[in-house]
């Protein structure tokens, strides 16, 4: 589903490369975890996948279901099934969460040539997804993410993910800022979306999240390269020994 080949990237108009030859293949049905120390390029990778133009790809390619994803606008990628759960969800004053959800769902449907949702159908979907994630109607009436707590913001991200039904979910440090209960709710929400047609890339510092969302493959990203891949036990090993081994290897 996702093929990243020799990806090099830097912040636009700056010299320093942040990604220095990332190779990664994620197949449908798989959950991959990417772990790594601060500054290793984890968030950069997630932003490049989503299409943020603050970054410049200098070499390599990214294929999404065989198509060159780097040529697509962010909204085209989303309509094609790419979803990034933001590490820091953006507050958007004046745009009610409900209105935003409807606009996003229908924009994607239109882009794919599908009919827009009827209001009752839309409401039914939102209510179902919201109840699983403990998201109140009051929250949905408020402007998107404005005044939401850290946990509420992350739950709102997973709510969007549930409703948009993406093919590829990239979760950027979704565990940051969550207490144990919120972590459980968010993880359950993510696990519900696991399926043979969907792939996930879970970016995290800590093994903790991976107790809840058990990955098929774990990668260690260090200094812009994947330096080690393994099964879920690799995460446990990292938790025990830290990143020091890999940081040195990569240096």
């Amino acid at each position: 589903m996702l093929e990243i080949k020799n990806l090099h990237a830097r912040i636009a108009e700056e010299e320093t490369e942040i990604l220095r030859g990332v190779n990664l293949t994620v197949n449908a049905g798989e959950v991959h975890a990417i772990m790594g120390p601060n500054g290793s390029g984890k968030s950069t990778l997630s932003y490049i996948l989503a299409g943020k133009d603050d970054y410049e790809v200098t070499e390599g390619e990214v294929l999404f279901n065989g198509e060159n994803m780097l040529d697509m606008d962010p909204d085209e990628r989303a309509a094609a099934g790419m979803f990034l759960a933001f590490q820091y969800p953006i507050e958007i004053p004046g745009v009610a969460t409900m209105e935003f959800l409807k606009t996003a769902m229908n924009a994607q449907r239109k882009a794919r040539g599908e009919d827009v949702l009827s209001i009752p159908d839309f409401m039914k979907r939102v209510k179902a997804a919201a109840s699983h994630l403990n998201v109140s109607m009051d929250m949905l009436k408020r402007p998107l993410n404005v005044g939401f707590s850290g946990g509420e913001k992350k739950r709102a991200e997973i709510l969007q993910m549930s409703l948009l039904e993406p093919k590829l979910c990239v979760l950027d440090e979704t565990d940051s800022g969550l207490d144990i209960d919120a972590l459980r709710i968010v993880s359950e929400g993510v696990n519900k979306l696991r399926g043979p047609e969907r792939a996930m890339v879970v970016i995290t510092h800590y093994q903790r999240l991976l107790d809840h969302i058990v990955p098929d493959v774990v990668h260690v990203l260090s200094k812009g390269r994947i330096v080690k891949s393994g099964d879920k036990d690799l995460a446990l090993e990292l938790e025990k020994n830290g990143y020091a081994d890999y940081v040195d290897t990569a240096a």
Binding site: A50, G51, K52, D53, D73, P74, D75, R77, A78, A79, L84, F86, P89, I90, I92, P93, G94, V95, F100, T103, A104, M105, A107, Q108, A111, P143, Q160, L164
Partner: protein
């Protein structure tokens, strides 16, 4: 400065003097009214149209803008006016009463006068008032009357209008729309006086429709809000036109009264919406909102002076502007607090969103405070669409144009929603979308 040297008149000024000579014998007015008209035209002759070296018009040079001035709009028959009205879409299907000014004069036969009478509202033709012996009283507003150039133009040429009076204690059940209809090209110059009696409530809608591509509209509205009365006035200045839209409000608020206004501008090439609000009784509140959209080479000016002459009054001014192309937005707002106007609470905010590199916003918030126990604040911001917000929306599949529309709408809606006339909110937001799609 040497006022004794005659100025060289522009083409438009010469046209205006010709217009005056042609029209003056047919304009309504008593002897004293005609004297005021003469004095007003003499002021224009003496000082010219307002221009950029007059402080109040520094950013909105009417003299430079007006290249010529055509005749006043002529009379039009009711059937034609009716067809223009039928085609007009001002406040969609909002349930309301209508009062019609057709080509600058009050059209009783097109207005809901009978229904309004039952609600305690009387409407009088301004033409009749001006012709009466004491007609000059409706032209002699305080402060702005003698000095402001746009008001002087209005005084010189006023064709008609109406005086609307809500009797004490009457709460008018539906909004009243005062609609200016133009059936063919020509300037429309009107003056309207709205008197809201003690404890009465009125929601007013003001709109301008029809073929006014050539002629300017100059309309003055005088609000007299008595003690304990409430007036909410929504002014809709929309539609593409190359001609000037010159709107003036003068308002006086009695004790324990409330005034809310929203000036909504989208479309005309040159708009000035100026408001002068005076507190004359204690414990009153004025909330003044502005929503402005301008593109191309449009100029849109919202000017406001609030005078706190008495203690214990609150004023809130909140203006939002969106500019594209090479448009210029102007906000001039001043809160004056007199020495004995203690416990005044004034809060003024103007925010602009610039969608292009060439657009330009002139924000001029001012406070002039002589009292020592007041709370007054003002703020001004200008910025572009936040790229992070835009990216977030696009990352959810919302195309760039739609995402921008959503953000612009969110920006402007803050003022529309705070204004709080819920039954016009949706219609105004639809107009924002139309403007974004079509400008």
């Amino acid at each position: 400065m040497n006022a004794s040297v005659p100025i060289k008149h522009t083409q438009a000024e010469s046209d205006l003097f010709d217009r005056y000579e042609t029209a003056k014998d047919n304009l309504p007015g008593s002897v004293t009214v005609n004297a005021l008209r003469e004095a007003a035209i003499a002021q224009i002759r003496d000082k010219g149209l307002p221009h950029r070296r007059v402080e109040e018009y520094k950013y909105s040079d009417l003299r430079a803008f007006l290249k010529s001035a055509g005749p006043l709009a002529g009379n039009v028959d009711a059937a034609s006016a009716r067809s223009v009205l039928a085609a007009a879409d001002t406040f969609a299907d909002l349930d309301r009463y209508r009062i019609v000014l057709s080509n600058g004069t009050y059209a009783a036969e097109l207005s809901d006068t009978d229904a309004l009478a039952k609600e305690g509202v009387t409407v009088t033709d301004l033409g009749d008032v001006l012709t009466a012996e004491d007609g000059a009283r409706v032209l002699s507003y305080p402060k702005t009357g003698p000095t402001d150039g746009i008001v002087a133009l209005n005084t010189a040429f006023v064709q008609g209008g109406m005086v609307l009076e809500v009797k004490d204690g009457a709460e008018v059940s539906k909004p009243v729309e005062l609609v200016h209809v133009a059936e063919f090209a020509g300037a429309q110059v009107t003056r309207n006086r709205i008197v809201v009696g003690k404890g009465a409530k009125l929601r007013l809608l003001e709109s301008f429709v029809g073929d006014t591509g050539e002629g300017e509209i100059n309309a003055v509205f005088d609000y007299d809000v008595a003690d304990n009365a409430v007036l909410a006035a929504t002014r809709l200045i929309v539609g593409r036109t190359e001609a000037a839209r010159l709107l003036t409000t003068t308002a006086r608020l009695g004790a324990e009264s409330e005034l809310r206004t929203l000036g909504f501008i989208a479309g005309p090439r040159f708009t000035r919406n100026q408001q002068f609000v005076d507190f004359t009784g204690e414990n009153s509140e004025a909330k003044v909102y502005g929503v402005t959209m301008a593109g191309g080479r449009d100029l849109a000016d919202q000017t406001l002076i609030v005078d706190h002459a008495v203690p214990h009054c609150n004023s809130r001014e909140f203006f939002k502007t969106v500019l594209d192309g090479e448009a210029r937005g102007v906000y001039q707002g001043r809160i004056n607090v007199a020495q004995h106007a203690q416990k005044t609470d004034g809060e003024m905010m103007t925010q602009a969103l610039l969608l292009s590199e060439e657009a330009e916003m002139a924000n001029k918030p001012e406070l002039e405070i002589f009292a020592d126990d007041v709370i007054c604040a003002h703020g001004a911001t200008s910025g572009q669409i936040d790229e992070d917000l835009l990216f977030y929306l696009r990352a959810r599949g919302i195309p760039e144009d739609e995402a921008k529309t959503l953000l612009v709408l969110a920006f402007l809606s803050e003022a529309i929603e705070e204004y709080g006339e819920d039954d016009v909110t949706e219609g105004l937001e639809a107009r924002v979308r139309d403007w974004l799609a079509g400008h």
